[in-house]
Symmetry: C2
Subunit: 176 residues, 2 copies
């Protein structure tokens, strides 16, 4: 049975170890659950949020962590999925802001200062930096992982590598 | 545009005022979003979690707040929806534990001590009390609101009234 402790991360691990635990727990959680994406994305948002909060600054200043999925009624629009944090924009057009850029370009956006990003959507003025990783099935973006940090330069290449691995696991494990 | 401050609650409000703000914000968030239930449930879980944390003890000891929806592939099973908190069980059979009891009986379950509840599912040993409110469309349960507290007797009749109002708004506003 899934237990809350799956999202408890021991303090003192380094980022690489934390992302390894996220991947391991995610794979275990997805077992037999490929048909209902919301269940997997809900638990993954929780896993990631608590993973980042187990790390030192700036990772523990993560203030939003979750998913947008491609709107089933509009293939050029993202719609809010499960997340941890304060309420968020419900829809984002492909190409708009950091999330829209990741969806339109199929490439991770690692943004050290969101104020400097052209067309940034200021959903929460506490967010200073952001990473957005597309989840790709075949050659189509089906969803994105979106994480905000209340500090500048909250994410680095290790986050990018860990999240791109997670995006691959999600693409394989879930029927979007 | 939806803004994170929709889930910021001024300290010092009483429970009745906080639930009124939740309802008002929920109605605003749902405007034009009835087709994709996850978007509305994700934001509502965030609204409720932050609402309860703006209140004094025991409300601010809320440690899990979210939704289970009826599994589209099994009408006698709940499946995890959006939430705030640590990872949680992905499926719950109707009749099993506090959530399953609410789904099976179509009645709110206000549980002062989860350890005393027959068949309680101990997803998180930190949870001491719980309230579960069914969301009913027509005569069918379509989802439940589930909130756990790390203190005994975390919820009262005011929570029940506020959450039952919210359940009615969700049933009206969303196509499950």
């Amino acid at each position: 049975m899934v237990h809350a402790e799956a999202s408890t991360f021991v303090k003192g691990l380094v980022k690489r170890e934390v992302y390894a635990q996220v991947l391991e727990q995610a794979r275990a959680l997805f077992e037999g659950q490929r048909n209902w994406v919301t269940s997997n994305l809900s638990n993954t948002a929780s896993l990631l949020y608590h993973a980042l909060h187990s790390l030192p600054s700036p990772s523990n200043a993560t203030n939003w962590c979750g998913f947008y999925v491609v709107d089933p009624k509009n293939s050029k629009q993202l719609i809010l999925g499960p997340f941890q944090g304060h309420v968020a924009c419900q829809t984002i057009a492909f190409g708009k802001g950091v999330c829209g850029a990741a969806a339109a370009t199929k490439a991770t956006q690692l943004v050290m200062d969101v104020e400097a990003f052209p067309g940034h959507i200021a959903c929460d003025s506490n967010s200073k930096s952001e990473i957005v990783v597309p989840i790709i099935q075949g050659d189509k973006v089906v969803a994105i992982i979106d994480i905000d940090c209340a500090e500048l330069s909250g994410f680095d290449s290790q986050d990018q590598a860990g999240l791109e691995n997670l995006a691959r696991v999600l693409a394989e494990a879930c029927d979007f």
